[in-house]
Symmetry: C2
Subunit: 309 residues, 2 copies
């Protein structure tokens, strides 16, 4: 049997062998590429260290995996997606650095390690985030594997998903919602759709562009992406009340303690579970409309909805 990384064996009780191999292979691939592409010799040393520190901090690398899964599905060479995969992960990483800042969520730890502003200092963390965001677009523009036409299309998608109408806007809305005492489930879904959904969905869309998908395939990939983006959040909220503290790495019930708006609070545990099942069914239904080998994508959807950490 193949050797799977400890985190996969421990956490992904719903992982099939094929999915586990896929995840291991492409997680290693994108992590090696990130190391190569983040730091250049002209980068001031401390800035380069801060950029690398956060990129190396781990994580599931879900966005790159989704992109590579689309390429796999349409038998597109993975090289075509390398720059896009790194760009997605750099944008995700910069957003975590800035979200952790004292003026935002004021977090001291991220994945068990000191956050960037705690390990370095606040100014360095702000600049490391700025530098990673800029590098993400630089990688996309410098990519030698794709035509200028395709690169421009990818950059259009990526900038729209990560800016004021996408991820940054979602973070703004999330901050403002925390000041409200009441929120409806559709308002909460709209915030998550921007804050986390847009960048997950764009990973799928970019994979579609790289695979020369038809408009119909693109719209089903987008539907799949929106469903799993929301499912990811609903599952997070459920794990906060049902999870194993040792596995999820934080105290059970911390959302309730921090008075956060969650689907469990809005819908109850049963309601949230039903909503999650519905999202998973919708995601799988979207894949049913795509005439290609969608096995990895459907396994990924199940993994996201049924993971235990």
């Amino acid at each position: 049997m193949a050797r799977f990384p400890r985190c996969l064996r421990r956490n992904c009780n719903v992982t099939t062998d094929k999915l586990a191999r896929f995840m291991e292979q492409y997680k290693s691939r994108v992590e090696a590429l990130l190391l190569q592409s983040a730091r250049k010799k002209e980068t001031p040393q401390r800035l380069g260290e801060a950029m690398m520190y956060s990129l190396e901090a781990g994580g599931k690398r879900v966005r790159p995996l989704l992109l590579y899964a689309v390429l796999d599905c349409f038998r597109t060479a993975p090289e075509k997606g390398d720059a896009a995969a790194c760009s997605l992960e750099m944008i995700h990483t910069y957003s975590l650095i800035h979200d952790d800042l004292p003026a935002m969520d004021d977090d001291d730890l991220r994945r068990g390690k000191p956050t960037s502003h705690r390990r370095f200092d606040e100014a360095t963390a702000i600049l490391a985030g700025d530098a990673l965001l800029t590098r993400a677009f630089q990688l996309a523009a410098d990519d030698r594997e794709n035509s200028d036409e395709k690169k421009i299309r990818l950059l259009q998608l990526l900038t729209a998903a990560s800016g004021a109408e996408g991820m940054v806007g979602g973070q703004m809305e999330d901050m403002q919602a925390e000041e409200q005492t009441e929120i409806t489930s559709s308002e909460l879904a709209a915030i998550h759709d921007h804050k986390t959904g847009d960048l997950l969905a764009v990973a799928l869309q970019m994979g579609g562009v790289l695979s020369d998908c038809t408009e119909i395939e693109q719209s089903q990939l987008d539907r799949y992406g929106r469903c799993i983006g929301l499912a990811f959040q609903v599952k997070d909220d459920l794990l906060d009340v049902e999870g194993d503290e040792a596995e999820i790495g934080k105290p059970v019930g911390s959302d309730e303690t921090n008075n956060k708006h969650t689907y469990v609070r809005l819908m109850g545990i049963e309601g949230a579970r039903e909503f999650l099942d519905q999202l998973l069914r919708d995601a799988l239904d979207a894949l049913g409309h795509i005439d290609a080998d969608t096995e990895i994508l459907s396994d990924l959807a199940r993994y996201i909805a049924q993971r235990t950490a």
Copy 2:
């Protein structure tokens, strides 16, 4: 006689009528475009307000003016440069918002108005900067006036100039230099070359790409850009000791009070004046190697070196 904006009549005693008309025309042009392109209807209201607040705060709009001056020089239609001009100004604006933050320079005022984090709050200022940086690249990718090939070339230049090896790297070096007691004039020049020079120089390079310049023309534009970038900084340092408080809008001698590394401190007033003259001569010499109408570009160089505010 044409009506010039008050700031031009008051400050630019070295402005020729032709240059003043040019500056008025293209400053208005880029300001109108910024208003149109910064905010979209899906932008969360407070985020959009913060983005607009800083974009509307004024300033000389030097980077867009340099770009339009190159287009004028080579008789390229100004429409070709509109997206690039807005991108440059948005990147400059985001850098000011982040530089002003408490963790960085901790400034309460910028151009006589409260800084973004004072007018809104720190989290909103961080996000407004992130959103403007992302929007800058989005505008460049969405530009309908240029081919994909040209847009990719512009994005390559812009991301390189504004990231970890360019502007962001320069800000990091500047912060680290403030902790040093001694610095040489070449170290100071290297910091400024990144912190402010790279984005000024890239405005010229982008104008050259849009005008299909030859490699020789490009390299002379770059040389001109490097000289005026440095000249801009040397003149700033001189104005701090020689300027009129009412005109420069801050107390004379504030650099000395804040113990900043300046060219005046390193070279003395006479030395800094001679250095400035040399830079102006070099900038004009670079233009002499370009076979086109460089009148506006040479007037801009004189304006930068001889302005009184």
